[in-house]
Symmetry: C2
Subunit: 462 residues, 2 copies
């Protein structure tokens, strides 16, 4: 405890998880009871990193629209948010953190009664030559986004290479297409969107080609080539060179847990902090962690995974703030839902892929069906492919992947709830889903897949 | 059993439930084992009544696109479908039905080993004077739709009155607007869409007015006024007259169970046939019933209701065909999901309204929230209102109603699955729903409602 009776909550990280936790703790307890100090090393608080592609594309007209709450707004709620201040050490034994003013370099210790670690993720930067050349950009922070936009202004030509074909890669491909670039996506996996099974990734590959994007799969970028002025001019793989006036790296992130590791806090197999259901760091009564620096329980596989997503970070913050504020709330885990789009192509997935299921010893049946977004006779009905995995014998739903156009992506929510509830595919065939011709065929595509999966689990009965 | 070893399955009704049952029974057992005879009194088999408004609007260019399978297609699958043949009596004791050729009037008996009753619904026709005048139309069948289209061609002016503001009423209002009519909707309830609570119906009222539709609520049509030539010229309520060149009746349907009643089969409080979970008519081993002529178990209230919807009819047919074909399948019940649209206004609902909950003795909390269809900063984000009912103390989800624009209606599917699984609103706050800026705010509107409902159930804790 600090000298006075008032407790102090210290938050490391001023983005979704950290500031949600701070805000919720403040709702639970007023400033007379709880002091809240938050440290953020960057220039921005509570921003939507997920929105950066849409800012780059021009769909979102200015940066500040991606900021959910400014430092001033947080301070007006009695949260002492210290920007451009990086925590450099957690002293668990003494209950204090050391923080450094990024600009002045001045350091000082701040003691805590309760600590929230929300240090987020770090982009994976490839070690190859030229990766730091001007014109090569990550898109993790608003500063990154601004640098990319400035770079696009300066670029001599209109050729862009996106390295990586996950969510960020495909969203950035769309952004650059919208800005009039010729876009090449270079991807180390056999198909884009490796969060899908390759057969569904293949549909994304084809659709992206249909949008005029050059897709290079199964190719590792070995170096970035530069002009005499040092600026990027091409991306090289073992087999080829792809000219580029600008390069965007979308090759994923890892947990930002250097501080936690140095403090001896428990990390999992994927490098993320390990928490209990109340988001408390295991073995530490007064330390919580959430967002992109923690691992989460996958409710379908029963194993812990690393799933850095803003939607989880916000939930974690809510849970942590409730608990740190003296209430009670838990985060049960995730089922692995994600949605994305590239122009009018929509992609949704939830649960396990085939290889995930195999890895955890689950045997399963898979089915893939073609249906439409609306009644077949209704204008604008577009094709939709749904793949479904069901456990052998029990028929329990294991996963769903959907690729289509309008109305495809968010349909995975149906499966996300079914996974959470542990429904079998046969139970799903009876789901009372909304039907009207503008919204669905009379059998929703998810139900069509569930029917086919049911037959397969039953051994082919009609 | 009939004279030979082969069994005969007789189906009364050639639309969704009946022909789905026949088709599924055929998949289960070949023509060497099972003879299938189906009777349909109308001109069409397996058509989408739900599609009629979109045919009238011109969105669907021709009638035949609403026909899922023609009589010839059924016959090609060894289903002896007899069109324009009306069953006039079921002789349960002798195991036979009497059928009449509608055109010739000839009658004959057909014996059955197994019987499927899929006699559908009958439109409620008001008893008021003038209801049968030329220019006054129901929209239950394709013949009705054709008559309405012909009537629109003949109408002298462009004023339409729609009587009733349920799904059919609002969809027909859209259809007539699209055809360039001035539309007035006259509705006996306080607000349109009485499947919503009045506070949510109010939003529909306002939005429909915004579309240029004249909304007359809380008004009973007392008579239809006609010209000298007998054709409709206006609709009268107690207080006013509304000029009309055409009138569409959308005041609902009741179960078509006159045959079943005469045969002594068990009917429920709403006039629909009562079945067990296998869709077998209670107390009758070899008779099944499904579609718009049966009552269904409401899984949320635990009581039997009348919910005539094509999506249920198709499921019933599937279940019945499986069972009549010697397999095993059950229909667990409904949660009351329905979606609709009027131009760009979307309406979704599932579960219980306030008055439904009260009627079955449930105490509850309600919350209503405003959110958006996409991240607030993403182009095209539109407002969405979500109302949620949760049981007092247990927090079990009881119902959700959503009114908004794009992406609003089908979001009720999330709640439909949650209702099926019996989730509490607090469990719902942790649902792993798809998030990306083009599809949802970081907290999906359904989650925002669940969070607020959780706080209310907990007694206001933040």
């Amino acid at each position: 405890m600090s000298m006075n009776a008032k407790e102090r909550l210290v938050v490391i990280g001023g983005d979704a998880a950290g500031m949600s936790a701070a805000s919720q703790a403040r709702r639970m307890r007023g400033p007379g009871e709880l002091e809240i100090v938050a440290f953020e090393r960057g220039h921005f608080s509570s921003f939507s990193a997920c929105g950066i592609p849409y800012w780059v594309s021009g769909d979102v007209d200015e940066r500040d629209r991606l900021i959910a709450r400014t430092p001033e707004e947080h301070r007006a709620r009695d949260i002492d948010l210290r920007m451009r201040t990086e925590v450099t050490e957690i002293d668990v034994a003494a209950g204090r953190v050391r923080a450094r003013d990024v600009d002045s370099g001045a350091e000082s210790w701040t003691s805590y009664d309760k600590l929230v670690i929300a240090t987020g993720a770090r982009p994976i930067r490839p070690g190859m030559p030229g990766a730091d050349a001007p014109g090569v950009h990550g898109v993790q922070t608003l500063d990154d986004g601004q640098a990319l936009l400035d770079s696009l202004t300066r670029a001599r030509g209109r050729r862009a290479v996106v390295v990586g074909a996950g969510y960020i890669g495909v969203e950035m491909a769309e952004a650059l297409i919208k800005r009039g670039y010729e876009v090449t996506v270079v991807n180390r996996d056999k198909e884009p969107m490796s969060t899908l099974d390759p057969d569904m990734g293949r549909l994304v590959h084809r659709a992206m080609e249909g949008l005029g994007i050059t897709m290079v799969d199964d190719a590792e970028v070995t170096k970035v080539l530069t002009n005499d002025d040092g600026r990027v001019r091409a991306v090289a793989t073992e087999d080829a060179e792809y000219p580029a006036d600008v390069v965007v790296l979308g090759i994923g992130v890892r947990p930002g847990t250097a501080l936690a590791r140095a403090a001896g806090l428990p990390l999992g197999a994927h490098g993320g902090l390990l928490t209990d259901r109340a988001m408390r760091v295991r073995g530490h009564e007064n330390i919580w962690a959430g967002g992109d620096c923690v691992e989460v329980l996958d409710l379908v596989s029963g194993q812990w995974r690393y799933v850095p997503l803003g939607t989880h970070a916000n939930k974690h913050g809510q849970i942590i703030g409730t608990n740190a504020g003296g209430g009670y709330a838990t985060f049960p885990g995730v089922v692995g839902t994600a949605v994305s789009k590239v122009c009018d192509l929509e992609i949704g997935r939830t649960g396990l892929r085939e290889k995930d299921a195999r890895r955890v010893g689950l045997q399963f049946e898979t089915v893939t069906i073609e249906s439409t977004s609306r009644a077949g006779y209704y204008p604008g009905a577009s094709p939709m492919t749904v793949k479904m995995l069901a456990e052998r014998r029990t028929g329990r739903l294991l996963g769903v992947q959907i690729v289509g156009r309008e109305g495809a992506a968010k349909r995975v929510d149906i499966a996300a709830v079914a996974l959470t509830a542990g429904l079998t595919v046969e139970q799903m065939t009876a789901l009372d889903l909304g039907y009207a011709p503008p919204f669905s065929p009379v059998w929703d595509p998810v139900l069509v897949a569930a029917r086919k999966a049911t037959r397969k689990v039953r051994g082919g009965a009609p």
